[in-house]
């Protein structure tokens, strides 16, 4: 990843989004993808979608999705949001510093707790031939468990459930009856929250899907997210 972005505005024409096929994604990867899509949409940027099974391995850090703006590329929601903020196309650039700090706190809350807790090994590695489709998911599972353990986060789903509920409660409180997290403007946090909430809402597992039912205002937020109808 190079640091210097191209100076002209031509880059906005050639944004490519690389992501996994939707049936091979983990829950949090799907959340990140939807968050990036939402963020690009509220930043009013055009992009083309490229679906690749090996997106995870194309990314140097293993973080998906990838945004490519030749010759640069950025992996994961944070890097992408930073880049777009750098280009002053960010939706949140008009917020005052106190609000920005609040927003970042919520973003890190979602990413640190909700993101690993969302893990399922559902369908991961389906594109690979046997016997790799047994080995690679197992390796992935081990690496995620290791990273959860290092960060002293719950590994067992029932433990994770209470963590998710804490985060959802915090988000629900912040949102209140509004349709935006900060005033009436759409920000990075809206995109990120939408991505992850939507992925929970659309999850195949009933148990995870039911998590949201206790927070009707979050469901309303998801269903009424303005720019997402075309995604």
């Amino acid at each position: 990843m190079a640091t210097a972005p191209p100076s002209d505005e031509a880059w906005t024409k050639s944004i490519e989004l690389y992501c996994k096929p939707s049936d091979e994604e983990l829950l949090y990867e799907k959340g990140e993808k939807l968050a990036v899509k939402a963020y690009l949409a509220i930043s009013r940027l055009e992009y083309s979608v490229h679906v690749r099974s090996n997106t995870e391995f194309m990314s140097p850090s293993g973080v998906v999705p990838i945004i490519r703006v030749p010759p640069l590329f950025f992996c994961g929601f944070n890097a992408i949001a930073n880049f777009i903020e750098l280009k002053e196309r960010s939706a949140s650039s008009l917020l005052d510093s106190q609000t920005t700090a609040d927003m970042k706190a919520y973003i890190s809350l979602i990413q640190d707790k909700l993101l690993p807790a969302e893990l399922t090994k559902h369908k991961y590695g389906d594109n690979l031939p046997s016997p790799l489709n047994q080995i690679i998911p197992w390796l992935k599972r081990q690496s995620i468990i290791r990273s959860l353990r290092n960060r002293e986060l719950p590994i067992v789903y029932s433990d994770a459930k209470s963590t998710i509920k804490q985060v959802l409660q915090a988000l629900s409180n912040r949102l209140g009856t509004s349709l935006r997290f900060f005033d009436d403007r759409l920000t990075e946090l809206d995109a990120l929250a939408y991505g992850h909430l939507k992925s929970i809402q659309d999850c195949d597992l009933l148990e995870i899907r039911n998590l949201l039912t206790d927070y009707p205002n979050l469901v309303v937020f998801c269903n009424n997210f303005p720019v997402m109808n075309n995604l």
Partner: protein, 508 residues
């Protein structure tokens, strides 16, 4: 810049059958003899006579011993003009000899061996003998039908010289099986009293190696290296079968499961390889990045090899042909599908003044419908192929990274000569040679939609280079220091004019 590498800890299972050696049996004698044409090698041959002759017991063999002792006396005093002349040449050979075998054989023993034997050479050489019995001692697990055909040629020896030669070769065969160590050979008078006085018994005394062995090694090949940790089960069913399990951590290509069967010049491999392509650098090009990830290749590989060269690295005569075809993705195993063909030819001829003319040609073709990875494709350029270019510096590139092609041709012409004025002759100087070379070749894509056009493009868009260099022979490897002048290159090629250094096992 290293950008693309298959990096993965891999399990390597390796099963090897060494049964079908018969093809080589007829071929090997020439090869072994010619491969060290220097007088030194002769000394080595006769060196084996020393322990042999001391064990000769019977009367008729005693005469040989007597002759030996007599001539030893003469040889060491070195009387007579002719003897002096021979002594002088002998001395240089001896130096050479010591240099060569210093590490493995006691030089003192060799010294006496050479003196004794050289003088007795004539008498022994043409001594008529007949082999009466061959005994093999020390076979426990090994089946006799594995060993018998290998040493059968010893029966055909008609003179003492032939006998020693055959014994030496048989000993080599047995050692090559990699199941015995050490292998000792003894000659004795025939134990049968009624036997003709010129009849001899030959005894091979072997000790079988233990069935299990572990290894920890690093392998260095053509600009590639890897670390291998493994264990090996040897001589499983008594016919020198091998079952090898290993984990290889390498910078190029690794094998998961490999079964090799050899039928004379043909060999058949079944390979199953789990590859992971990773971009080591953040600056790797997008084209390489798009290839990254896991893949499984299951392939059948057939290779035909014919080698009449006298040495694999610095041949002076003979030719070499190797044709390899690999078919991956048979029966929907794995996610890699391609057909790969590769032909290697080399022809060597010795010209007057000890100059060796060497020419070689490589052709490669990969047919695939997009289900092959960058590691299956061909690359060209570097000190071992087209000199004057950087490693893999020829052909399609993307953002400075070589992305390989599906078709290649490469050729080389060499004129190799010993060093002028022959410094250090008989010693290290023998390992140094100079060469003039011309390389030409190209790497590209042959598109199935326009085969004729893309083939023409491949031929017309050739690259070539020439230069001069120094070659150093180091056992089975060769070291090269060349001054290269790339003459025709494309804009995207990475050239490397001037001095270039290379070390490897095979050269274009």
């Amino acid at each position: 810049m290293v950008t693309m590498v298959n990096l993965k800890l891999k399990l390597n299972l390796h099963i090897k059958y060494k049964n079908a050696f018969d093809f080589f049996l007829g071929k090997m004698p020439n090869q072994v003899l010619v491969s060290y044409p220097s007088p030194v090698y002769k000394n080595l041959q006769y060196f084996y006579l020393v322990p042999l002759s001391t064990r000769l017991k019977n009367t008729h063999v005693d005469t040989i011993v007597d002759t030996l002792q007599e001539t030893t006396g003469k040889g060491s005093s070195m009387q007579g003009a002719e003897n002096e002349k021979r002594g002088a040449t002998r001395l240089t050979k001896l130096t050479d000899c010591i240099m060569y075998f210093l590490s493995s054989i006691s030089s003192a023993l060799l010294y006496f061996g050479v003196i004794i034997i050289k003088s007795a050479e004539q008498q022994l050489k043409n001594k008529k003998i007949k082999v009466h019995n061959i005994n093999i001692d020390g076979l426990r697990v090994t089946r006799t039908d594995l060993v018998q055909p290998k040493i059968h040629n010893v029966f055909e020896a008609a003179t003492f010289e032939e006998l020693v030669k055959e014994m030496y070769l048989s000993k080599n065969y047995l050692e090559d099986l990699d199941i015995f160590h050490p292998v000792n050979v003894f000659i004795d008078a025939a134990s049968d009293k009624k036997a003709d006085p010129i009849e001899l018994d030959v005894t091979f005394r072997v000790r079988e190696l233990s069935r299990f062995s572990a290894q920890f090694k690093t392998e260095v090949g053509n600009q590639d290296s890897r670390l291998v940790i493994g264990g090996k089960l040897r001589n499983l069913f008594g016919r020198a079968e091998e079952l090898m399990g290993s984990i290889a951590y390498g910078a190029k290509k690794s094998t998961t499961l490999q079964i090799i069967t050899e039928f004379g010049a043909h060999s058949l491999h079944f390979d199953s390889v789990w590859r992971e392509i990773q971009c080591l650098s953040d600056r790797s090009s997008w084209a390489v990045r798009e290839e990254s990830g896991h893949s499984l290749k299951c392939s059948i590989k057939h290779a035909f090899m014919r080698d009449t060269r006298d040495h694999s690295v610095s041949p002076t005569t003979g030719h070499f042909i190797r044709f390899e075809q690999e078919h991956a993705g048979l029966g929907s195993l794995g996610d890699t599908k391609f057909h790969r063909f590769f032909l290697e030819c080399q022809y060597n001829k010795t010209l007057p003044y000890n100059i060796v003319f060497s020419s070689s040609l490589n052709l490669g073709l990969l047919a695939s419908d997009g289900q092959s990875k960058i590691s299956d494709r061909f690359f060209l350029g570097g000190p071992l192929s087209i000199r004057g270019f950087q490693m893999r510096g020829i052909g399609p590139h993307s953002e400075g990274d070589s992305i390989g092609g599906n078709a290649l041709w490469a050729s080389g012409l060499h004129l190799i000569s010993p060093l002028p004025f022959k410094p250090l002759q008989g010693g290290f100087g023998e390992r140094l040679r100079t060469h003039l070379f011309v390389n030409a070749g190209n790497l590209g894509h042959i598109r199935s939609s326009a085969i004729r056009d893309s083939t023409e493009e491949l031929i017309r868009g050739y690259r070539w280079s020439y230069g001069i260099g120094l070659l150093v022979k180091l056992g089975v490897a060769q070291l090269e220091l060349n001054y290269c002048v790339p003459c025709r290159a494309h804009a995207t090629d990475r050239i490397s004019p001037g001095f270039q250094f290379g070390v490897g096992l095979s050269f274009l």
